[in-house]
Symmetry: D2
Subunit: 290 residues, 4 copies
């Protein structure tokens, strides 16, 4: 029985290729996580178990998709960055996005019981949506990463103060909100310190900085690595592709690299200068075991 009579319906599928030589960021967000976090009584302002679960799922995604060079997570969102030379799935947008969303969700649900052993997951289950965005230059990409980390800081300072007012200061939600309306960063730091003896600087880095996930190689001294200009790496795009041998070598070294999670500043140049492999996509040196 031939299927030709109906096969014309395939023509309605529209291509959704991303432009070559752009950095691809796939950001995913928890769907309805406000309600979800209430259902499982997440600790406020930060639930360490929930963050660890997010990070574990993100590490699994990076492990299954070696084309991702770096990921950054805060709260119930995670951004995954594909190098601009990435050719995975021919750069088909929906394929890239759904693969990440699905893999992340699978591990989130699967690892739930490890992080919340006493709270069995019940329907409706947690889920995530996602989208892809293209950034033409390293500059734009780094500004994207900075945007997320600044947002993380703003939200965490607010939430820390808000919940201190409630948990330690006896405010209800409404009056806490009112108290904070229009206050600046300095004001919130002041509230925390003067009223509750909390020094915001001493809060755990994971809450203040979010989580940065990447393959770990030996760091270099700033200034010693060849500068990574857009122009340089564009070469792979123009056909001076890596030799097969080199590609195989890179692949092996990448597979050997440990995926690490750190809670560090990614806004300043230093983070990127000391880890040139992130932007060059050339694997670094595997660090010696101590």
């Amino acid at each position: 029985m031939a299927n030709s009579k109906y096969e014309y319906v395939k023509n309605f599928e529209q291509p959704d290729l991303l432009i070559p030589n752009t950095w691809i960021v796939v950001r995913i967000d928890g769907r309805g996580f406000h309600k979800f976090s209430n259902k499982y009584a997440f600790e406020k302002p930060n639930d360490r178990r929930a963050l660890d679960l997010m990070n574990a799922a993100a590490m699994a995604v990076m492990n299954e998709l070696p084309d991702i060079v770096i990921a950054y997570g805060i709260s119930d969102e995670y951004s995954f960055v594909f190098h601009k030379t990435c050719a995975l799935f021919e750069r088909r947008s929906s394929k890239l996005v759904t693969t990440i969303v699905s893999t992340f969700t699978a591990y989130y649900v699967h690892l739930w019981s490890t992080h919340f052993p006493d709270l069995p997951l019940t329907a409706p289950l947690p889920s995530f949506d996602g989208r892809a965005v293209q950034y033409p230059s390293v500059h734009n990409l780094r500004d994207y990463m900075s945007w997320r980390q600044v947002d993380s800081h703003i939200n965490n300072l607010y939430n820390t103060t808000f919940w201190a007012l409630i948990q330690l200061g006896g405010f209800d939600a409404k009056s806490a909100e009112k108290e904070l309306a229009g206050s600046l960063s300095a004001g919130k730091n002041e509230i925390l310190f003067s009223r509750f003896k909390i020094n915001y600087n001493n809060e755990p880095e994971i809450y203040k900085k979010g989580s940065v996930v990447f393959r770990d190689y030996e760091m270099v001294e700033p200034g010693t690595a060849l500068e990574i200009l857009d122009e340089d790496s564009a070469k792979t795009v123009e056909g001076i592709a890596l030799s097969k041998t080199q590609e195989e070598k890179d692949k092996k070294r990448r597979a050997k690299a440990r995926i690490t999670i750190q809670h560090v500043d990614i806004i300043k140049d230093e983070f990127w200068e000391r880890r040139p492999w992130l932007l060059s996509n050339k694997p670094g040196k595997i660090p010696k075991e101590p």
Copy 2:
């Protein structure tokens, strides 16, 4: 600390709205399920537990997303159909697709242990990719559904014969493939019957027809329902929207409806004529309990 310096990066997000008044089909596919089915030793040609798990996940998706009017599943793929009047997520393509992919994955992983109690899931976990396609007319939509069901039939007849040759006929994979090369449907039916006394018609409907998921109301006699022309239902698009009261009523009736899974022909007119609510998106009559 204002975030305005970096916020410009939001401008790189591109809109991906689907066109109004088109039927939206989101099809998802298991990623690397050939390997995955070997890992868990799925029964061949069909593993009932695996199909039941797919169906359970699909029902959960329909339950969480009332905008889906019908879904159709075969093997490791599922198609979900949004009515052409659907306004969910402003019809943003990536939002619709990732929500379905993520919800489906969550239930697939979560319900795994119910359907495979003796086979604990281990990394790499199952995952799905997906894409959205738009169909302008009922005609195109029904041809899409027919395309999937015909494909289902072709594949299942092939697989049933292929595995009979191996499991009952002592062929190895290569020679079984050779035996079937170029054979027509009739030929495969003949092989099954003459060599293995298998009457393909007696195979379970779930294998032959795939699985159709929809909200169940009282069926009508063909010809008694008002015909559903594209023109008619377009009215909701042009602003003659349902009254709020009517919308509320519809919503309640829809919520009361039982979601059913059936293994029936969706190519012929009868299926659609007896269930006018599928194309009209007007909930039918809740069937009386027997």
Copy 3:
């Protein structure tokens, strides 16, 4: 000298195919025509020469692109409709739009001296921009056409009254605008009649109705033609294409048909029912010469 080193740049071209089985409307608009109409002292509220030139250019476009079934023009804009079965340029959006814009512009500039013999065209020259929009159903398409004709009416009634106040009533632009602010249709009719003895109904149809361009065949009695359902004509999409012989016949009959410009109501059903070839895309009967 091989060009392969640079040819990779072709990969940055992104496909822009319109969805099959949708009606394609290409609307073009004069760029900066307010200034342009002042430069050549167009008569207000309507300059017959300018409209005739627009119409002549539109007829030339229809003549060169037989895939266009109907066009509608008002003021400095024109909408061209491709039948939903149109396969011209593989339905590439930019190709369809630029071909229409360029052909229209070429005739507009070339025919200028015929319509404005005493006003030589000088730089900056007139130009047009354009865009394509897809409509899934006949209903949506007809609503689009109605939208433009209603707009035409609203604008023309306003302009007629506005310029009467200025040319006959001695108002300046500002006070005329003020006089009309918030007035309804009836109010404007009243102003025209009571102050200036102008009966708007007696204004020329070309100003009140705009211009409709199409191939002219013998009209049919409403009700005698087979109703054109979306479903019917979708058949060409699903592969039951016309036979080559039939296609050749249609092409010849279409080439013989006279392209006509009329200034009639296209909102009511009658226009479409009496000219079934517009929506069916099956050429009608060539009218006998009188």
Copy 4:
């Protein structure tokens, strides 16, 4: 009379914004120019009048659209480059493309009689189609430009030899084609020289190099200008926009600059290094009159 009943049709218009911070190339091509060039008996292999007309139209386009930084033309095609910081028409693709196509066509038709005084233009008139392509880096953009210039060279060498065989060697088209099949550049040079005493190097530059159009400022010594990295000019994208005063100054200087057409190598670095304003989009120094 309100138009609200039909206005919903505007929702079918889909956004087509190009990504920020990419170089936009709009390439236009003559439609059916093979036939067109026969109709007006263009000289072979190159008709100087036709090229001058193309160039005159391109200069007019650049004059009306100051956002274009450079254009490159060969035969019946022209590429126009918008700087990556361009914000014209909010970077709407169809608006950018149709404006260029329409303006070019207008001047081509209008200036025809200047370049072909004895050959009045008749229907069907010349027309052009066009499309926009985005290039993320300077590297990609320059490769695009190189691609076109290499293509120009390949085609012109072929055509020069092909027409020499016909016009001077008495070949017919078929045998000339056969003679050239598979020949390399050197072979064609050899044919030209040994058979017809034509030294290809002495052919006019306009035929060998194509035409480069840009605003002319004082050239700088290579190495003296600040290097234009992608990173640098990205600054305007991230909000460190030029001050209003600076913008006004730039605009004035740009308006003063003479638009020039040159037939030079744009593949080597020198062209770009000596004209840093092309990539920086900062107007240079107006050259003193001699």
